[in-house]
Symmetry: C2
Subunit: 205 residues, 2 copies
């Protein structure tokens, strides 16, 4: 008969549970629903544990084109948890709301100082500017947001996804698959992300 101490089993188990990385996707009223959902769905396909957190609570969130989505939880409940990546979907209304939220500001600064990934698409890079996060880094955004970003960042016009250190940014709905796959690659590796891309019928190199 073989006995295991609890600590041995626990260590053994945590080796496996640690394999799954985690993502927080913030869902604010007026979020661009395609950018939100492509991030959440693609990251889940890559085996990443995704938490969809409503900016203003756990109630249904009305997105930019009137699709209503139920978050998994409210942002207040998970704001002090650790996540491997914090994802900010675009949409003008959603980005403005996140830019005005001190909860989002605290969370992003804490994610930055912990060396965790931050990812923002479309109008959402302006949220970083408003909270003084990732200053000086290279980034991109929805083209019309450029004037709000050129002063504090090194703006990139000619790439669909830009990674600078722990910051990943992208441009709009048409680049949302590439954005989500780039985040997934960082957390789940190239091989996994190529398998996911193949399942999506998306080209990804």
């Amino acid at each position: 008969m073989v006995f295991f101490r609890f600590s041995q089993i626990s260590r053994h188990f945590s080796k496996f549970t640690k394999m799954s990385k985690s993502a927080l996707v913030i869902l604010a009223p007026g979020a661009e629903e395609m950018e939100f959902i492509i991030a959440a769905d693609v990251l889940r396909r890559a085996g990443i544990k995704v938490t969809v957190a409503g900016l203003n609570g756990g109630e249904a969130v009305k997105c930019s084109r009137d699709v209503q989505i139920l978050p998994d939880t409210s942002l207040a409940k998970v704001a002090s948890d650790k996540f491997d990546v914090v994802v900010l979907p675009g949409g003008l209304g959603g980005s403005n709301a996140m830019g005005e939220s001190s909860l989002v500001g605290d969370l992003l600064r804490s994610q930055e100082s912990a060396g965790g990934l931050i990812a923002a698409i479309c109008a959402a890079p302006t949220v970083l500017a408003k909270h003084g996060v990732a200053s000086g880094k290279s980034l991109t955004s929805y083209p019309s947001m450029k004037p709000q970003l050129v002063d504090n960042y090194s703006y990139v016009d000619d790439k669909t996804v830009v990674k600078d250190g722990n910051l990943i940014t992208s441009r709009g709905p048409g680049t949302a698959y590439e954005f989500a796959l780039r985040i997934a690659e960082e957390l789940a590796g190239k091989e996994k992300v190529q398998e996911v891309a193949k399942g999506l019928l998306v080209a990804y190199n």
Copy 2:
């Protein structure tokens, strides 16, 4: 002083209200959330009046990657209304549920005999097969669904979107923008859809 008869005003008004085309997007448990939301969002961007109808009622619907979406209404409430297009998003669970629904079968047969558009992506073309709709037409689907379709349809492997008469079909998440834009083109015209595509940062010719 000038007087208008009510019927004159009403006719005048209906000239404008008739300009907006209508789409029914069916949301079934297990629907692929990206395919669902890209259709709903892109069609709304093109000025089409979109109704999101829950297959089993008006409650939140859990999609294939656990995103929960609140439909605008239940399918039962709008099944006898007229729509310019009926859109079936993919996802294996969602497509199986729609394939087993007599409500969906009746609705699709009625749409077909009225000469209205039917659009299906990914696994959803199998719903047409199960209900005996659009038999003999050219179509495509998610590649693994092909064996369920080759007997009753002329299967197309090498196109991302296939239109045959009033049927528009497509392959998967990676072709969902093109699918939605193709439907929008049919209802809102080429010029409008090119403006929408530009806003999405999607190439569309």
